[in-house]
């Protein structure tokens, strides 16, 4: 059987029905209509720049994901009671049947442990920030500190997948893919969704490409991972001996062949491919412009810290994120690994904080002074919180904390989010939420709202039902909105 024949048999039911309904319709219309009219409307669906449902507050998002889950109790959720009750067992009335991970389920005692690091109040809002985050503390009036995030998962992979895609299982589109689908790309010379990875010195957890997948959306919405090397997008430059003109001619010919293929098989992925070739061609100009740091003035470099000169560090990624975002990239996703302090928290957490504190604050300040913070939403946070009791041995200057889904802290800045507020309250044990909970679905709904998207209207029909980032739940948290 010839390959082409086989391919035809592979045309799936969806394509078949789509073609059938259109085919019958067109046939009956006869010569009344130009046959291309229908297929052009299909193009529109695949290629059109989406528009916000209503006037957006934010145009772009930079999501500084702190992978592994930083402890809220050593950063932004100050609980002096834990220091007073150091070593005492967590009361059962507080734990109240919360399930445990396999790592502490064998522990006979759950000794409470207070923060080793000192807290102080900062800014007009008087928010408490630990000494590990001096730079974030200095811009606390630009931050919205949400202390009452809560999630359903208790292990890294499902929790992270939930934060990124709105579902604990994989294969759903990531938040950035939804934005790309809903709003399109602002700058046609760069992907709408870029991913930057860095690794800290603490205990790390993996990140996988399923976190920036397009899921069932068109593959053009997939996140593009930037490399940590001097050349952020691999294989972008023409090989030696290929001229720009030659490349252009090759792409033109290729696109002709591909459109023949599309006419033959009708697979929309072919069109996506053509678009991707074209974007890669334009990226040959846009990416070098973005990765060139030599035009950044000295004081910007100093603000982010000298690490930003070393590709692949968190600071370098923050600076790159600013440059990408400034150039119209809809969603820049950073992951900084190493926040999983099951043990050795006292020695590891300062290293992690040192990696991220300065550059995160610098990014927000940098955006602000460029007039971009109003239209850029910056998010900082992990996938869940950490327990108020110690995992493993508790000593005077060392301890660890296990995973805690019931409450954790996430920061937001800019993008029409109210600055200088602390939202929600946790109990004195830092274990349960007592006021204004924010579920992951609510968090997503609020983010989409800031981007001018109604989370109930941004849907994609797949496997017989319409999917949303917020699935069947979620509400916009109005008090967070400026």
């Amino acid at each position: 059987m010839s390959e082409f024949f086989e391919h035809r048999l592979n045309v799936n039911r969806r394509h078949f029905l789509g073609k059938l309904s259109l085919g019958l319709g067109s046939a009956a219309l006869g010569s009344l209509l130009i046959p291309d009219l229908f297929s052009s409307s299909k193009d529109e669906q695949a290629l059109a720049v989406g528009l916000p449902h209503f006037a957006p507050k934010a145009k772009r998002i930079i999501y500084l994901h702190q992978n592994g889950a930083p402890s809220q109790l050593e950063s932004f959720d100050y609980k002096p009671l834990l220091n007073k009750m150091q070593g005492q067992d967590l009361p059962e009335s507080i734990r109240n049947g919360q399930r445990l991970t396999g790592m502490t389920s064998g522990q006979s005692k759950f000794p409470l442990v207070g923060s080793y690091f000192k807290f102080a109040q900062y800014g007009k809002s008087g928010a408490w920030v630990s000494e590990l985050f001096p730079h974030m503390a200095s811009i606390v009036d630009d931050l919205c500190i949400i202390k009452t995030m809560h999630t359903e998962a208790i292990n890294h992979d499902p929790a992270l997948t939930f934060m990124q895609t709105g579902a604990q299982q994989g294969n759903r589109p990531s938040m950035g893919a939804w934005m790309s689908y809903g709003l399109g790309s602002e700058n046609k010379n760069l992907p709408a969704f870029c991913v930057l990875l860095s690794r800290g010195k603490g205990n790390g957890q993996g990140v996988y490409s399923k976190l920036w997948t397009n899921g069932f959306l068109d593959s053009i919405h997939q996140g593009v991972q930037f490399s940590a090397s001097e050349e952020p997008v691999l294989y972008l430059n023409d090989p030696q001996g290929i001229t720009k003109e030659g490349r252009r001619r090759m792409l033109d010919k290729l696109s002709e062949l591909n459109s023949l293929g599309f006419e033959e098989f009708g697979d929309p992925e072919i069109q996506t491919k053509v678009q991707q070739y074209e974007m890669a061609y334009r990226m040959q100009t846009s990416v070098p412009e973005i990765s060139d740091l030599s035009k950044e003035p000295d004081h910007i470099i100093k603000m982010y810290g000298p690490d930003c000169l070393q590709p692949g560090t968190y600071a370098a990624n923050c600076l790159l994120a600013r440059k990408l975002s400034e150039s119209g990239v809809r969603f820049v996703q950073l992951y900084h690994q190493g926040w999983d302090q099951h043990g050795g928290l006292v020695s590891e957490m300062p290293l992690q904080a040192k990696d991220t504190d300065r550059a995160s604050a610098a990014l927000i300040t940098d955006l602000k002074q460029r007039g971009l913070l109003d239209e850029t939403l910056v998010i900082w946070g992990g996938e869940f919180g950490r327990t108020n009791y110690c995992q493993g041995d508790l000593s005077k200057d060392n301890y660890g904390r296990d995973h805690h889904p019931r409450c954790y802290t996430v920061l937001m800045a800019g993008g029409g989010i109210k600055p200088g507020i602390v939202y929600g309250e946790t109990d004195d044990f830092g274990y349960n939420i007592i006021k204004d909970p924010v579920h992951v679905n609510d968090f997503h709904a609020t983010i989409l709202n800031q981007m001018g998207l109604d989370h109930e209207k941004l849907t994609f029909k797949h496997l017989g039902r319409r999917y949303r980032l917020t699935d069947v739940a979620g509400k916009v948290i109005q008090p967070l909105i400026a």
């Binding site: 309904s21 319709g25 409307s41 528009l51 916000p52 200095s138 846009s286 604050a361 007039g371």
Partner: protein, 677 residues
């Protein structure tokens, strides 16, 4: 003629059937949308035809031609109606009823034409009444016909300063969202929200609100239920309250639900007043969803302006206002900015960040009269250009980061509401440490004529370096000013310095110059199991291994037998140095060899021991690294044999050397043996 009409009816009704069944998954181009909009015009033809057909039947006249006209136009009107419905904005349930009843009407009427049956004609008359009724609900709403008889006069209420909060915002909200079902005439759930009396009476479930406690108020409870909930109000499918309306209602009930208090008597900082003002002002401005008064530009005009380097989009769906952004500095030309004048009224946001914009272009920008937001970061505008822009009355925000502005320029900015320029005051400008310079080459094996260049990302850096293994200092060490010629095995140490910064820590890079290639390489002993590398060629394949990955086939490992390999060179080769590169990774038991023997001669049968050495055994744990031993040799030989013996026992200090360890032999891992002339 008859045949043509018959065929036409079959074709049209078949198409209609397809549209009814698959319409949900179709989308239509704009041309067809216009066709769809003829639906309200055309639908009157079949109605007229069927009404006259009924009359004609009573008069005993021929009806076939009337039914024919009716059936054809009914099918056409139904198809158009489905196209029109794709534009959206119709109540879903009513739409479905209208769609199906209309389609069935078309089918029945066509059938009536084919078999000329009076029962079918009568049935289609009833069907058209049903379809028409639902259609009228779609366009005119419920109770359109009877409304003037029952509803009180609908004069436009104007809000004055003395109007109560209730009549200014709350009652209008009910009128818009609730009184369709909850009025004097039609009081679902026995509730009438159309008047204060009705509200005071409450509904079948009790009173409407409890002043001061919105959470306990039935009205709020119903509104705040999830939309999918059966008891949620307004019911699913009807127009919902906006978030702002819900909040206003909530706050108003919280504040005591005073129906008499004038809206101006609430303090300006009161949240009820703040929320209400949005609605009151919106009413004054004409109550449209957008606050812009200009018309939207045509889609063609906008499409024409869009390309990869200039993006022009509406700020949101159904908004006439546009935002434009330019990308890629090389692609910017003033003419491309001028082209935007075709939407000069609609443009409210213009982003020219990093574009080579000068004062001359400000004359163009000036013409965008409704511009609210302007980004001129890193442009070349000066005070003169900013003066030009001062005529833009709506400009609220201007970004001028990276623009060199003198005092005169700064003075021009006083009229703008929001200005963004450099401001780094939040960050203390402390002295920071630089990062070390890096070599441009990724390879540690350097080609014979390759030179090494050191770079640093920051401009104005002084790079110093040494090649003798010592740490370069910041004052006397060799300054990097030209590419470095590496000889053999070199430890390149570098340091970056700059005024206002601390010098970088020392950066260390181990480099090897590629050597002479032997004509033949032979492995004479057996490598350790699982660590064969690529066999004999491993030594000379110019592949370096990673320190931590000794399973990498760049490495060849020895333990049971010593490394023994033979290398034959072309006549006249003059070897001066032999560099054995090994994995120095003491934690993983990878040690330098205990001893090395170099045998040389003119062929394998005539070899003499020319060199023997015992490398130092590490005396403590140290950093794992790609290390090398350089062995100088004399004389001219064509044949070399190298024997390197792994350390027979881990040193005493090694943590694994304890009584539990049976086999204490260390390993030797080699990736390259370089012969240099």
């Amino acid at each position: 003629m008859r045949k043509t009409i018959g065929n036409l009816l079959i074709a049209l009704n078949a198409l209609l059937l397809v549209f009814v069944l698959f319409g949900d998954r179709m989308s239509f181009p704009p041309l067809l949308q216009s066709v769809g909009r003829i639906h309200p015009l055309l639908l009157h033809v079949p109605i007229g035809a069927i009404v006259f057909a009924i009359i004609f039947i009573f008069l005993g006249k021929k009806t076939k031609w009337l039914i024919g006209i009716g059936a054809v136009t009914a099918a056409l009107a139904s198809i158009m109606g489905i196209i029109l419905s794709k534009e959206g904005g119709y109540a879903e349930n009513t739409l479905a009823l209208h769609k199906y009843s209309g389609a069935i009407f078309s089918f029945v009427l066509a059938a009536a034409w084919f078999i000329s049956n009076r029962v079918l004609i009568s049935a289609s008359f009833i069907l058209v009444l049903i379809a028409g009724h639902f259609g009228s609900i779609l366009t005119h709403g419920d109770d359109f016909v009877l409304e003037p008889l029952f509803s009180k006069s609908k004069e436009l209420k104007t809000v004055s300063d003395s109007t109560s909060m209730y009549f200014a915002v709350i009652q209008p909200m009910f009128d818009e969202r609730c009184t369709g079902c909850h009025n004097e005439k039609k009081s679902k759930g026995d509730l009438n929200l159309a008047s204060l009396n009705g509200i005071a009476k409450g509904g079948e479930h009790g009173s409407v609100w409890l002043p001061g406690s919105p959470q306990a108020s039935l009205l709020m409870k119903r509104i705040l239920l999830p939309e999918s909930h059966e008891d949620h109000m307004p019911p699913k499918g009807k127009a919902q309250l906006s978030a702002a309306e819900v909040q206003l209602l909530f706050q108003w009930i919280l504040s005591g639900a005073d129906t008499a208090k004038a809206w101006t008597r609430y303090s300006p900082s009161d949240s009820v007043r703040k929320l209400a003002e949005q609605f009151i002002n919106a009413n004054k401005a004409g109550a449209s969803t957008t606050h812009y008064t200009f018309e939207a530009a045509s889609k063609e005009t906008i499409d024409k302006l869009n390309d990869p380097y200039r993006v022009v989009t509406p700020v949101a769906q159904d908004e006439p206002a546009l935002a434009a952004t330019f990308f890629i500095r090389d692609q910017f030309k003033p003419a491309r900015l001028e082209e935007l004048l075709s939407v000069k009224e609609q443009l409210v946001s213009l982003n020219l960040s990093k574009m080579p914009v000068t004062d001359a272009e400000c004359e163009i920008i000036k013409k965008f009269e409704n511009l609210e937001k302007l980004n001129l970061n890193f442009s070349s505008v000066t005070a003169r250009g900013l003066k030009t822009l001062s005529s833009l009355k709506n400009l609220k925000s201007i970004s001028l980061t990276g623009v060199n502005l003198d005092a005169a320029g700064m003075a021009e900015l006083k009229d703008f509401k929001q200005i963004y320029t450099w401001d780094t005051t939040t960050f203390k400008q402390e002295t920071l440490r630089l990062t070390p310079p890096v070599p441009t080459t990724d390879n540690t094996l350097i080609d014979a004529n390759e030179k090494v260049t050191l770079t640093h990302k920051l401009p104005g850096i002084i790079i110093r370096y040494t090649t003798d293994g010592s740490d370069p200092d910041s004052t006397t060490a060799q300054v990097f000013d030209q590419p470095i010629d590496i000889k053999g095995y070199t430890i390149l140490k570098t340091r970056a310095c700059k005024d206002g910064w601390f010098c970088s820590p020392v950066g260390t890079y181990v480099l090897y110059k590629k050597g002479v290639m032997p004509v033949e390489t032979k492995l004479l002993s057996k490598p350790a199991k699982g660590y064969f590398g690529e066999g004999a060629s491993t030594f000379t394949n110019n592949k370096k291994g990673y320190v931590d990955d000794h399973r990498d086939i760049a490495w060849i490992g020895f333990r049971d037998q010593p490394l023994s390999a033979a290398f034959r060179f072309a006549t006249g080769t003059n070897i001066r140095n032999i560099t054995m590169c090994y994995d120095h990774n003491l934690d993983s038991w990878l040690f330098p060899p205990a001893s090395i023997e170099i045998w040389a001669g003119k062929d394998e049968a005539h070899l003499n021991l020319v060199k023997q050495l015992k490398p130092e055994v590490p005396s403590k744990k140290d950093e794992r690294r790609n290390a090398a031993i350089v062995i100088p040799v004399e004389g001219n030989y064509e044949f070399y044999k190298i024997i390197a013996t792994p350390l027979p026992e881990l040193p005493k200090w090694h943590p694994s050397n304890n009584k539990d360890t049976k086999d204490k032999r260390a390993w030797l891992f080699v990736d390259e043996i370089i012969f240099s002339e």
